[in-house]
Subunit: 179 residues, 2 copies
């Protein structure tokens, strides 16, 4: 099995060491290569190092204080304009019904996981955080209301080596020929 | 960069060679290790080898005839019951508004991309296909209406080596500190 899939853990404690900018760019380079429906590439990534902004993002993430130990947050945003024309007014939130929103969440999630695995490859730790609302997170980063924040990815050098969390047995998730 | 991220291509022509069952199980083992919100693991995978069923699935996928050259389809299903109680009646489709549907699409997409990358690692090709409706695809596989089919992943040994499709420049997808 690919080593980075096998060894990946969600990291919630980070060392007080900055992440090299060329490594961050390499991570986003791996996201850029993700597949997407009709090659629409709906993903955007906001690199946040500012402590003030990271504090605000932590605040709206149900005050999960561990987040702040990560020196970098990558805010991962899906852009519905890759599929829906500009003249159609849209304000997206957690209960928006559009098919296109589901499609861009799917495609952006693929790209985010490329970052997660590539970070592991570079000796970096990450954690997916999605415990916030669009309404609260968007103003912090001036994100227009027709974009949807899929997650904050915390990023840094790990200061913990957590065990893997339990998983369902493979027989519980596999079906053959029919549900 | 992780070789499998760099070399992955969407494969739409396959050799007429079966895929070893132990390899399929290994692929799903890598999906099983994906991260998910609150470790809910909403993913299910239906392994389809039957030609008759693959024909029906191709039919509802806008008759994309290339699909049939793949000896295996993995139908990737997200289960909202990982987050919503059984006594709440739900029939999901492309315009359902539930937050939980967005969450399970996100998490199942992560797991699917693990399969895609691990397949590349084992010398196998894949292609994400999501050009169908829930209404048409679910009856073919007896999938209950409270599940959501995220994609059909075609799987097999590639008989083509397509070039990578063009990507946006990295500057177009990166922002710093703010949108």
């Amino acid at each position: 099995m690919i080593e980075q899939i096998k060894n990946r853990r969600s990291i919630r404690r980070y060392l007080d060491i900055p992440v090299e900018d060329n490594k961050i760019i390499q991570l986003l380079g791996s996201a850029r290569l993700a597949p997407s429906g009709d090659n629409t590439q709906p993903w955007h990534f906001i690199i946040v190092k500012s402590e003030e902004i990271r504090q605000k993002l932590t605040e709206v993430s149900n005050k999960q204080k561990w987040m702040l130990s990560a020196p970098v947050f990558i805010v991962c945003v899906a852009d519905i304009r890759s599929r829906v024309a500009n003249n159609i007014e849209l304000s997206l939130n957690e209960t928006s019904p559009q098919l296109e929103l589901k499609q861009i969440i799917r495609d952006t999630s693929i790209a985010i996981e490329h970052i997660v695995l590539e970070a592991n490859n570079l000796g970096l730790g990450t954690c997916w955080v999605a415990w916030f609302t669009q309404e609260e997170i968007r103003p912090i980063l001036n994100i227009p209301s027709d974009k949807y924040v899929v997650c904050i990815l915390t990023l840094g050098y790990a200061s913990e080596s957590p065990k893997d969390r339990p998983r369902k047995k493979i027989e519980e998730i596999i079906h053959r020929e029919s549900w």
